[in-house]
């Protein structure tokens, strides 16, 4: 458990909110950097100029396919990283960049933005707009256990990360997912997780079912992924107490 994993952070068409969310682990970030992670490349937080060969790359933001550099960088990230993590709604699903249509200074022809999974194979998703500091922390600890842990720890990390790996099968998200994949499939239990998770308060609960104001929806994917009926692993969630304790202990 002594050696660190190397981390890169590629910043594409994002607002840097995902970077801030990572940094908002405060002392936890320092512990991660002290004990588990060697930060090789990260505009804003580390002083390297070029994408490096790393174990794990976080990618923030979607790819502007009209921008040659952005396209080159996502490809280079994939090439140089063993594991690519799409961090945040924009990288996973497009999010608010779905609504771009160009016309902005100083690049009016930069009109088309795609989630990174439409250009490269992505290994893990961390959805959310912004993703929460705690979610980033949990995935970071699990990624470390996956790469450097004992057999038992690797198994736990695999179980924990599996739904976030399977999530990469889709590159688009919307409030409508709650309708098409949950309610229409006879799975909604009316718990209200979706309404709580929505970053723009687009969802209210009406007679025990989510009602989305679709004009407010930014297509971030938080609601669907937070829903206990989108994906649920008994093995993992039933061990919530032990896993929470393990993550806290790792950050001591």
């Amino acid at each position: 458990m002594a050696d660190k994993i190397t981390l890169g952070y590629t910043h594409l068409s994002g607002c840097t909110g995902c970077t801030v969310a990572l940094a908002d682990n405060y002392a936890g970030l320092l512990t991660l950097l002290d004990k588990y992670v060697d930060l090789k490349y990260m505009p804003t937080l580390a002083d390297a100029r070029h994408i490096q060969k790393v174990d794990v790359s976080f990618v923030e933001g979607s790819v502007c396919i009209d921008d040659k550099l952005a396209v080159a960088e996502i490809k280079e990230t994939r090439e140089k990283s063993a594991i690519v993590v799409a961090l945040g709604g924009c990288a996973c699903y497009g999010n608010i960049t779905r609504f771009s249509r160009g016309g902005q200074q100083n690049q009016p022809a930069h009109e088309s933005y795609l989630p990174i999974g439409d250009l490269i194979k992505v290994d893990v998703y961390i959805p959310g707009c912004a993703p929460t500091p705690q979610m980033i922390r949990n995935v970071a600890v699990m990624a470390y256990l996956l790469l450097k842990g004992t057999k038992e720890q690797k198994d736990l990390a695999t179980a924990f990360l599996t739904p976030l790996m399977k999530a990469t099968e889709s590159t688009s998200a919307c409030y409508c997912d709650l309708m098409t994949k949950v309610i229409n499939q006879g799975l909604c239990i009316g718990c209200g997780s979706c309404a709580a998770a929505c970053p723009v308060n687009a969802i209210t609960m009406e007679y025990g079912k989510p009602q989305g104001e679709r004009d407010l929806c930014i297509k971030c994917g938080a609601c669907y992924n937070q829903c206990p009926r989108s994906w649920f692993s008994f093995d993992v969630v039933e061990n919530y107490e032990a896993i929470n304790e393990a993550i806290m202990a790792a950050l001591q």
């Binding site: 961390i126 959805p127 959310g128 912004a130 993703p131 929460t132 500091p133 705690q134 979610m135 949990n138 924990f160 599996t162 739904p163 976030l164 399977k166 994949k181 499939q185 006879g186 799975l187 909604c188 239990i189 009316g190 718990c191 209200g192 997780s193 309404a195 709580a196 998770a197 929505c198 970053p199 209210t204 609960m205 009406e206 007679y207 025990g208 079912k209 009602q211 938080a222 609601c223 992924n225 937070q226 829903c227 206990p228 009926r229 989108s230 994906w231 649920f232 692993s233 008994f234 993992v236 969630v237 039933e238 919530y240 107490e241 896993i243 929470n244």
Partner: protein, 308 residues
């Protein structure tokens, strides 16, 4: 007993020692007493509960702030709310038997309601949602560490509001406003009126009104609560209590030391844990069959299975 009851440190039959509270309670007053005690001791600084039209009229600022027009809340339709005092707790006590999206308040509880130590009561699926939110806090920033006491209630299935409306007003021929209490037990759905009238419907009648999402649930006794409780297994007026987690153990021990509950060993009471196990196994078996049927629901097409 087996896996159908989840992991637990101890199980007991219990009843609140607070006679006043018992008058408002569904059974043993476990949830209300636990939250009242926890509020008093500072274990929680507020609890998310299923409140009512009457509660919303008295404490509108405590209810979920959404598009609900509070003038339009029907009798017996629950509204998730935050309670901070014993009076508010008592005003929200009692089972409603239809969907109360308590988890919808989980993030807001830490924001405009300013809670650092949240109590929440919920059905087994809501407990699952809370634990998923702690492990995978996708849209729940700074929420996980603030969950101080999650109390789960036993649940066979839940109902949309319109189902209970039809069962009470149509099948039981009673007006919703005149209902004093509802109960599911001894194979029947009981409706108690304010003038003392009682109507019972065979549970069979209620089956077509159940929320479909309940039919793939594999948890009867809220395996993921810190403490879980329900009437099944204990005598009338008492509740069966499972103490499950470290938090649950600590809170229950303190409550017991403070004389909040009187108890009987679950081994000594009728109908006892055997009935809880029986019903849990029935639910799990029935719902596993539903899950399997979903895999071949169409012709060469399956319905989605959420479980990994």
């Amino acid at each position: 007993m087996g896996a159908e009851l989840g992991k637990y440190k101890s199980c007991i039959s219990a009843r609140s020692t607070d006679k006043e509270l018992l008058k408002c309670a569904q059974d043993g007053g476990i949830v209300s007493s636990l939250f009242a005690f926890a509020l008093d001791e500072g274990i929680i600084d507020g609890a998310i509960v299923a409140a009512t039209k009457e509660f919303a009229a008295k404490y509108p600022a405590k209810c979920i702030q959404d598009s609900t027009n509070f003038d339009m809340i029907e009798p017996w339709r629950p509204i998730p709310a935050i309670v901070n005092t014993k009076a508010e707790l008592l005003a929200a006590a009692g089972t409603k038997y239809n969907i109360s999206p308590n988890v919808a308040l989980l993030k807001e509880a830490t924001r405009s309601f300013g809670l650092d130590k949240i109590g929440i009561v919920g059905t087994p699926c809501q407990m699952q949602a809370v634990r998923k939110a702690q492990l995978y806090p996708i849209g729940m920033r700074d929420v996980g560490a603030s969950i101080a006491l999650a109390v789960g209630i036993f649940c066979m299935e839940n109902f949309p509001y319109q189902s209970i409306l039809q069962l009470v007003e149509d099948h039981a021929a009673m007006k919703m406003e005149s209902v004093k209490k509802m109960e599911i037990g001894k194979g029947k759905f009981w409706v108690y009126g304010k003038r003392g009238q009682v109507v019972q419907l065979p549970l069979k009648v209620t089956h077509k009104y159940e929320q479909p999402g309940c039919h793939v649930c594999l948890d009867y006794v809220a395996n993921l609560g810190d403490i879980s409780t329900g009437s099944v297994g204990s005598p009338d007026g008492w509740s069966t209590v499972f103490v499950r987690s470290k938090i649950g153990d600590s809170v229950w021990a303190k409550a017991m030391a403070a004389g909040v509950f009187e108890t009987q060993p679950i081994e000594k009471v009728k109908p006892g844990l055997e009935l809880v196990s029986k019903l849990a196994n029935e639910k799990i078996t029935k719902n596993k069959a539903t899950l399997a049927a979903r895999a071949t629901f169409g012709v060469g097409k399956a319905l989605r299975n959420p479980y990994i």
